[in-house]
Amino acid sequence: MKMEKMKKKRVIVIGGGAAGMQTALRLARRGIEPVIVEKEAELGGKLRGWYVLFPTFTPASEVLNELRRRVHECGIETVLSAQVTGIAPRSVELADGRRIDGDAVVVATGFSLFDASVKEEYGYGIYDNVYTSVDIERMLGEGRVAKADGSRPKRIAFLHCVGSRDEKVCQQHCSRVCCITGVKQAMEMKRLFPDADVFNFYMDIRMFGPGYEEMYREAQQQYNVHFVRGRISEASPMLDGRIQIKAEDTLTGRPLRMSVDMLVLLVGMRANDDNAALAAGAGLRQSPSGFLAARDHFLGSVRSEVEGIYYAGTVTAPKNIGETLNEAAAAADAVAEALGA
């Protein structure tokens, strides 16, 4: 009764990825009017580039299409191709000078992918048969995974932690999802190319999620994926276009080298470059990794230091899709409670 009398509260959700869409949906269900501000021309964020999701091999499109359908069904207002340049507790500034006002702001701007060419030694962008995990997802989605010359790979190496846990590129944090992505893509490669040998070079294997460890084991035992503990130090081209890689097999204490048809770099999650500017403008705090820092890790994980500004998803730290969706719901609930809705 009270609700009807009151004007509907309006909340700005920055970012139209999994986190943004889920936050908006939840807000809408709680009787709040969300508006999604997305920098791309369509909703979906990074999920658009994904083929299937670990650990269940669920097509990413299933999740994405369902979220989009619900957003459309709820008639949620979306502002597309709009780059946010400034955040305040009750409004956001856009690059084109527009200003959107609301009663609160949820920052769901996600992450950036680590640019693998920064790790020059792996030759991404220089050698033809060096790929990133994102390239592989795209190729899987296009239904055509092959070497640059179109032939079937016989030996594939995955390198974990490219742009994660690497002080040399100022990325101290763990991106969390790359380990399981490496396992998932290794299995997909084995399904496509059963005769191929697949090697995963890792520093640590971090199987944090439910079903991940089982998947890791399955990759080892059923798919015969080789796991070598050691970081690849350099990749070099061979006469026939393959890639020679070198690493230390730390479990035997011996240097190891081999040639592969495809080298896949499992790129990590970076904090967005504009986090610093946004944080400075709004009085938000950044963690050392560059991601925005929540008020605390336990009871205030979706709240910022500033009243009226909330976080959802990977803007605060690397997360998987499931965690992101859950956190988005939590953020919407926190907003709704604060607005008395």
């Binding site: 059923q222 503990r229 479990l251 204490g253 240097p255 080298r257 081999m258």
Partner: protein
């Protein structure tokens, strides 16, 4: 040609070269015992090893080398094992370690 002795020889590379190593036996071993692939290198087997407490024998390292196609000396190393089975009791991945010892010896020995 008569080689000149310069007082030194060309050191052999220490690197495990997966292009040169013949992985046939390693493949056979993994096909017969796929669970060996699940080793996470925790070293429990080596820590409890009865033979490893008396010698340099390192089961984890030897089977890892064998998986990489480094067979040199692996048979002799595996022969240090007394097959007592403690390693099998502690392996967190449930690997049939005694079976691995026998398998590697069978594949790499001449019998």
């Amino acid at each position: 040609m008569a080689a000149i002795n310069f007082g030194y020889t060309i050191s052999r590379p220490r690197a495990i070269d997966l292009d040169r190593n013949n992985l046939r036996k390693s493949d056979e071993i993994l096909r017969e015992m796929p669970e060996l692939q699940t080793c996470i290198g925790c070293g429990s087997c080596t820590a409890v090893c009865t033979a490893g407490n008396l010698t340099e024998f390192n089961f984890r390292k030897v089977h890892t080398l064998v998986r990489r196609g480094e067979y040199q000396g692996a048979y002799e190393e595996m022969n240090k094992c007394m097959l007592c089975g403690k390693c099998r009791l502690v392996c967190p991945r449930g690997i049939n370690t005694r079976g691995v010892v026998l398998l590697i010896k069978r594949k790499l020995g001449d019998f």
